[in-house]
Structures are given as structure tokens and as C-alpha cells.
Amino acid sequence: MSLARKLAVIVATLTALVVLNYVFEYGFGDFQINPYYARIINLIGINITLAVSLNLINGLAGQFSIGHAGFMAVGGYTATYLTVYHGRQIAAMFGSTPAEPLGGSIVMIPSLLAGAAAAALAGLLVGIPSLRLKGDYLAIVTLGFSEIIRVIILNIPAVGGATGFTDAIPITNTFWIFAMAVLTIVITRNIAHSTFGRALFAIRSDEIAAEAMGINTTRYKVMAFVISAALAGIAGGLSGQLFANPLNPQNLNFVKSIEVIVMIVLGGIGSITGAVLGASILTILPEALRGFDQQFPGLRMVIYALLLILLMIFRPQGLLGRREFSWAWLRPVKRRAVLG
């Protein structure tokens, strides 16, 4: 793409997101979006960021990390801390307050940047020593890391400790959520389609051969880990400031990490579009099944679990496998020549 076309695409995307955000906040004419649906759509956006970023390390590089909630927590708490304690000054520079839409959106920028930087630093600190480990061992270290983060946060009164960060100001809006989801998809896709993506695929496929081809495997694993952590930090910053009191150490335990893993496994591990699909389905499904709870309380989660089990029996590689969704699939099928 030429620079002019690239700029045009960026401007068009941003305009579309601003319009979307306006409709979500103020409606369009007589139309007002159901706040419940708006909330689910916003959660889908955040989960897409989480799933696609985890896919970078678990899918593309093939390193099994179950500490994504830890990075989300580091990013979320850092971002929210900045907004709560410095948001007013930052917004005041533009003659606004964080509670107003404009002021909130302006504060969002340094807030998310700080969250991403803190999570990236955490990723670097955990990644350098632990990415020499493989398979289950790496999984255990990343799990341990996220639990350590959770326990530390539990003991910091300035961010609310066990009661959660109740001072958080809800400045996250649909614009920022989907801008970050798009950014995450673009970054991950561009890495996957470059020499760095091939290096990660090589590591996933055969580490010894990758190293023999001149690929510094530890360096690239750490690189993928740091980028993945930074993006998870952004998702944390978004979800941490979505409602009045969403940041709670209890919600950022390993169950959250597993939730994100299930999203990418469902969509097809290693597929970016698969991660988007998995994140969307697994955000909608528990809500769509709510009707069952009115007849038999608890039935919802039974059906949810059954659907996941059935999927793993009949499609263990996930919905898309390692392939990427392509519009060509929707066109009438052309017969391909059989290759000899």
C-alpha cells in the first residue's frame, strides 16, 4: 500500500469509529442502542484485543503462556492509576475533566500508553528468564507470575486492594475499544506476514532447525512475549475503566487467563481471524444462553461447557484451524486442479 492509501484507510477507519462511538453514546435520530447490547459489543472489542494478543505468543510462536490475566492486571492497574491520580491535571491542560467525553478520550492516551509500557516491562522481566523453558514448564511459570501480580495488587491500598479499584473513572468508550482492537489485529497481522513472523513460525515448528538457520530463538520469543504483554496491558486499561468498578483482583485470576486461551483454541490457535471469531463467540454465547437460567438455574454453564466439549471432539483444531478467514470462501467454489 502506498503512503497515501494507507493514510486514507487510517482516516476512514477512525471516522467510522467516531461515528460508531457517537451512535453508541447518543443514538442516531430516534434510534437508541440497547445499553445491554452496547455493553456486550464493547466487551467483544476488549476480548478481541486480548485473544489476538495472546495468539501472538501462544499461536504464532507456539509458546504456551497462561499468564495473560497478569499482564492485563499490570496494564489495567497502571492505566487506571494514572487516570485516577493524574487524570484531572492532564484533562485540565485541555480545559476539560476526565468525566467529559473529550477530556476522557484525551486522558485515555497517556493512560493506555502507561498501561502498555508497564505490561511490556513485566513481559520483559518474566520473559527473559522463563522463555528458556518449554511447554508445561513455561505454562507453570507464567501462571505463577500472574498469581504473584494478583497477590501484590491485593496488598496495595492505593489501588483499592481486595475491594477493587473503586475510584476508577469510566472513561473507556467504544471508539477506544475498537481502535485498539484494530491496532492489535494490524500489528499482529503485519508481524505474521514479515520475516519476524516466519521466525516465530519456525520456532513453533522446530526450534533446533530455527536456531540452525540463524534465528536467535530466545530473542524472538521474548519479543513476541513483550508485544503480546503490551497489548494485553492495553486491554486491561480499557476494561479497567469501562464501568465504575470493574478492576478487582478476583476477576483477574487464572480463570481469566484460561478464558482467553479458550477463545483462541476455539477460533483456531495460530489464526488471527480465528482469535477474533473465538473472542466474539465466547463473549456472546454466555449471554445468549441466559434464557436457560430462567428455567433451570445453572443450566447455562452446563450447555456452555457441552458446546465447548462437542467442538473439541469434532473440531480439535478450532473453528478455523491455522488458516485465516478469506472473503474468497464466500464466493462460489471454483474447482481447483488436482495437483499431481
Binding site: 500500500m1 494507507k6 500489528i187 503485519n190 508481524i191 506476514h193 514479515s194 520475516t195 519476524f196 513472523g197 516466519r198 521466525a199 513460525f201 519456525a202 513453533r204 515448528s205 522446530d206 533446533i208 532447525a209 530455527a210 536456531e211 540452525a212 538457520m213 540463524g214 534465528i215 536467535n216 530463538t217 519479543m223 491455522r322 495437483l339
Partner: protein, 256 residues
């Protein structure tokens, strides 16, 4: 420095606990040589290979490659210095296409940086095209361009071995280390391979060190052959000398 040997091994010993797999081995591989390393099963050939390519760090001794000490270097550093290898048991990137396998190995010669890739800059595009062109050229040399988009593991065995050599060449090496390149090939395939190896040395000005079981291949193309048994050198010389060497015959056929 044109006359200096590419590879210079001095007193390299490799012990695994109580087992001495390689015992004070010396080796001098001149530039653009076709050097063969042979020996019976379990003689330590592959261990020598793994020591030379940085998979193992030798217990004792020193290795000089092109004037640089490499015995403590990691495999990717040695590849960067210009020594590329193939594997005895083929290690292609199974979930990639034939073309991608070769493109991957071009990684350390690209000037693309991570920001280039993320932002999709012009340098990303030119480097990507350049990588693809070079990879296609290599596939053409190896007669594999028809299969460029096929999965690497769908190729017949002999072609997979050639693809491994093509992939090693994409790292732009000075020294090519081939670990049993003719293993599992039929006579016609190994004949083609011999021709190819000689061509690589002559046309691409490579130095080639090969470990091989197939006597025809080794005797047919190598100028110098070093024979090891139980990790120790038992003979070194031209193919004609090696064929007559009593120790070698004993090692291969078993002494009385």
C-alpha cells in the same frame, strides 16, 4: 587470508558424563574443499557435527571458523558467521510451504527491522520481495520451483533433502555442513546429489564438509577424507589412500 583454512579444529574432546564421544580431534578444512568425514555407526560423526555447529559446547579444545573462535558460540551465531548445516533426520519446518522454508532461512540477511514490519514500510516490501526472489532462485537451482507453494513435508524424501540444502544456502554461508545428505536416496538420486554438491562448491565457491554413510558418494566427490572410529581419527587422506588403509578396512568390516 585466501590460503588460510576455513575450519580449524584443535584437540576437540566431547564427553557426555563417562562417555567420550569425540577424543582430541584435529581437523583442517581448506577453503573450497570437499571434505568428507566418515566412520562406522556410532563413531561420533554426528557429535562432531553438533560440536562444529554449536549444538554442543566441546569439553576441551578449540575451533576456529574463518579466523573466529566458535567453540563457545550458539548455533544461530555460528550460522550468522557463515556456516550452515543440514540435519541427518530431516528437520524442515513442517507447517510451512517449500518457499516459506527457504524464505525463513534468509532471515538473518534481511535488513528489515521490527518497526518496518509493524508499519509496513517500503523497506518491508522491498526486503520481502528480495527474500522471495532469492528463495525462488534457490528453488530453481534445486529444481524445486514447481513445488514452491506445496507443504514442505508433501515432497518426496529425496526432494526434502535437497530442500534442506536449499534452505541452508539461503543463510548465505561460506561453509556448508551436510549431515548424511544421501541417506535414504536411491542410486539415481545420490548421483544427482553428487553432481549438485560439486556444482555448489565450484559455482557458489563454497567449502563443503560432509558426513556420509554412502561410500560411493564420499569416495566419488571428496578430495580429503577423514575417518573416525570411537571418536578418534584413524586415518586421513585421499579417497584412494583411504580405500587401501588397513585400519579403515578393519573398522568397517571388523577386525579378526
Amino acid at each position: 587470508m585466501a590460503s588460510a583454512p576455513v575450519l580449524h579444529v584443535r584437540g576437540v574432546t566431547m564427553r557426555f558424563g563417562g562417555l567420550t564421544a569425540v577424543k582430541s580431534l584435529n581437523m583442517t578444512v581448506p577453503r573450497q574443499a570437499l571434505y568428507g568425514l566418515i566412520g562406522p555407526n556410532g563413531a561420533g560423526k554426528t557429535t562432531v557435527f553438533n560440536v562444529l555447529t554449536g549444538v554442543y559446547c566441546p569439553t576441551e579444545g578449540e575451533i576456529q571458523f574463518d579466523g573466529t573462535r566458535i567453540e563457545k558460540k550458539k548455533p544461530y551465531e555460528i550460522t550468522r558467521l557463515g556456516a550452515a548445516r543440514t540435519f541427518q533426520n530431516i528437520r524442515l519446518f513442517a507447517d510451512m510451504s517449500v518457499l516459506q522454508n527457504v524464505m525463513t532461512a534468509h532471515h538473518l540477511r534481511t535488513r528489515e527491522t521490527l518497526p518496518d514490519a509493524v508499519l509496513g514500510t517500503r523497506r518491508h516490501r522491498t526486503e520481502e520481495n528480495d527474500t522471495r526472489d532469492r528463495a525462488m532462485e534457490l528453488l530453481k537451482i534445486f529444481n524445486l520451483e514447481r513445488f514452491a507453494d506445496e507443504p514442505a513435508t508433501s515432497l518426496p524424501y529425496g526432494s526434502q533433502r535437497r530442500l534442506e540444502i536449499a534452505r541452508a544456502l539461503a543463510t548465505q554461508p561460506k561453509l556448508l555442513l551436510l549431515d548424511e545428505p544421501a541417506a535414504g536416496m536411491n542410486p539415481q538420486e545420490s548421483l544427482d546429489l553428487m553432481r549438485l554438491i560439486r556444482w555448489l562448491r565450484d559455482e557458489m565457491k563454497l567449502t563443503i564438509l560432509l558426513v556420509e554413510h554412502n561410500r560411493k558418494v564420499v569416495m566419488g566427490i571428496c578430495e580429503t577424507i577423514q575417518v573416525i572410529d570411537y571418536g578418534e581419527e584413524i586415518a586421513i587422506g585421499t579417497p584412494a589412500e583411504i580405500q587401501k588403509n588397513a585400519k579403515v578396512i578393519e573398522a568397517y568390516l571388523g577386525g579378526g
